[in-house]
């Protein structure tokens, strides 16, 4: 695999809590530019831990993680924000800010990264159009259905044009039909060229999908 094409490189990563509880053990895999990878495993298998290590919310006990060639675990604190801008995050519960409109929820991501006002409107509308929510731009999150909220969260993750979209159980709170819709949305985004790493415990949902799988059980790759 060409080095330039690798967006995420997880190499021999272990995470041990309190010197005894092993959450991850020697996990290694890569995600290439434009690839769709499924991270599957039951609850407690270490999927969320792995994602937290990739975003440098935590440090691995051993091994290395590289995002676009940059070694995440040895990054200087000041360089963490810049690295995170290369990633888009989607969580199980959406994590939208309840008192802000959908537009504001997405725009603030651009504002905190120093984008210009003109740019912001254009990018927010284009991200909302991609997820099919352009008509809900001034709604508050509680006025949206669960599926729509998750779409808004995906728009927020996309608005910065990340190299890699990290989704941690993005359909965990949704019923099967809506889950399928969300999954299709990730597929669509991936077709536009963004790499996706989607973590899920729901093997039924991803059954039959042609994407490569990284299977975790009790913190080990199987």
């Amino acid at each position: 695999m060409n080095g330039d094409q690798v967006i995420l490189d997880v190499s021999g990563v272990s995470k041990i809590y309190d010197r005894k509880h092993c959450a991850l053990s020697k996990v290694s895999f890569q995600v290439s530019r434009g690839e769709f990878v499924l991270l599957v495993g039951p609850c407690g298998a270490g999927k969320t831990t792995l994602i937290r290590l990739i975003t440098r919310e935590e440090l691995p006990t051993e091994g290395d993680i590289r995002v676009a060639g940059q070694k995440v675990n040895s990054l200087d604190r000041r360089d963490i924000p810049r690295m995170r801008r290369k990633l888009g995050m989607v969580f199980q519960d959406g994590k939208l800010l309840t008192e802000r409109t959908i537009f504001e929820n997405i725009a603030f991501v651009l504002r905190v990264t120093g984008a210009r006002k003109k740019e912001i409107s254009k990018k927010v509308i284009s991200a909302l159009t991609l997820v099919g929510l352009a008509h809900k731009v001034s709604a508050l999150p509680h006025q949206l259905s669960g599926g729509e909220q998750q779409r808004a969260a995906i728009a927020r993750a996309l608005v910065n044009k990340p190299l890699l979209l990290l989704a941690d159980e993005p359909t965990g709170n949704l019923d099967p039909d809506i889950s399928m819709e969300i999954l299709n949305l990730f597929e669509k985004i991936n077709r536009f060229g963004t790499a996706v790493l989607l973590a899920t415990h729901d093997t039924n949902l991803v059954r039959g999908l042609p994407h490569r799988r990284v299977q975790l059980v009790d913190g080990r790759m199987v």
Binding site: I80, M83, M89, L97, V109
Partner: protein
């Protein structure tokens, strides 16, 4: 970026109206007290400088010292660097002054003039402190021909003590005000921070720098401090007007000091906020 920070700070203040009000009012009291002591210091200093204008040393000469020797003595005293002027009062002039003050009666029984000739010594403004006046008086008292030296020993030392007392209290109060104001702001910002914990968490994950996350909070603290100082100054102005009308004409803080108080308030707020955010930006 700054526009965004201002908007965020204002919306946070709006969201936590009651806590914001409590913080602003506590800061108002703190900065009002500081302003009050600054005003007290200014007024005591003003009175002190007026009183000091009248400070002088009087050296009484023995009768053996004739006019020529007195002038030579005056010349010697003039050479002391702290001395700005020396004037000679001979026995006759002393008698005249005494008569003017107490009338003829008191001296009528005496045949000779009992009042000694003297030298009135004025000091430079900056040397009119108790310790300096005392030192120079002792120096003059040791000169041949000087019988006794008189200066406002009692009240001069009292005045100096009062002034240094007010300075010490103002400084002490300044420290207390500064630390308690910062504590109030730190607590308020902690609450605001926790109220927006989720937003902060998301900001962190989307790659906002710790500085850009902290900026609205620091600004919010500065707004509390500034508003506290502004309200405190208005309260002080009101009290000053009341005292000046009812009791005694007082000096108010000059515009530069007033501006300083406002800036000090804003700085305290910003610092308090920054302290409370230490280590939370990640």
């Amino acid at each position: 970026m700054l526009g965004y920070a201002i908007k965020e700070a204002l919306s946070s203040i709006k969201r936590t109206k009651l806590t914001s009000l409590a913080a602003t009012l506590t800061l108002t009291i703190c900065l009002f007290l500081l302003g009050l002591f600054l005003m007290a210091y200014m007024n005591v200093k003003d009175i002190a400088s007026k009183v000091r204008g009248r400070v002088q040393i009087e050296a009484f000469l023995s009768d053996q010292v004739d006019q020529k020797a007195a002038h030579a003595l005056a010349e010697g005293i003039r050479n002391i660097s702290a001395v700005s002027a020396v004037s000679y009062v001979d026995k006759e002039m002393a008698l005249e002054i005494f008569r003017k003050q107490f009338g003829d009666q008191a001296l009528r029984v005496l045949e000779t003039n009992p009042l000694p000739a003297s030298l009135k010594i004025e000091l430079r403004q900056k040397d009119r402190t108790f310790s300096q006046v005392k030192k120079i008086s002792q120096e003059i008292a040791a000169m041949p021909g000087v019988m006794d030296v008189e200066y406002g020993r009692q009240w001069l030392s009292k005045l100096d003590r009062l002034l240094s007392g007010v300075v010490a209290t103002t400084l002490f109060l300044g420290l207390i005000v500064a630390s308690s104001s910062m504590l109030v702001v730190a607590t308020t910002i902690r609450l605001a921070f926790h109220a927006r914990k989720e937003a902060v968490e998301i900001m962190t994950l989307v790659g906002a720098t710790p500085e850009s996350i902290a900026r609205p909070f620091v600004l919010e603290g500065a707004i509390y401090g500034f508003l506290g100082a502004l309200l405190g100054s208005i309260l002080l102005l009101f009290l000053h007007g009341l005292l000046s009308r009812r009791l005694v004409e007082l000096l108010f803080l000059p515009p530069s000091l007033l501006m300083g108080l406002l800036l000090f308030g804003a700085l305290l707020g910003a610092l308090g906020s920054a302290i409370s955010l230490r280590g939370t930006g990640r």
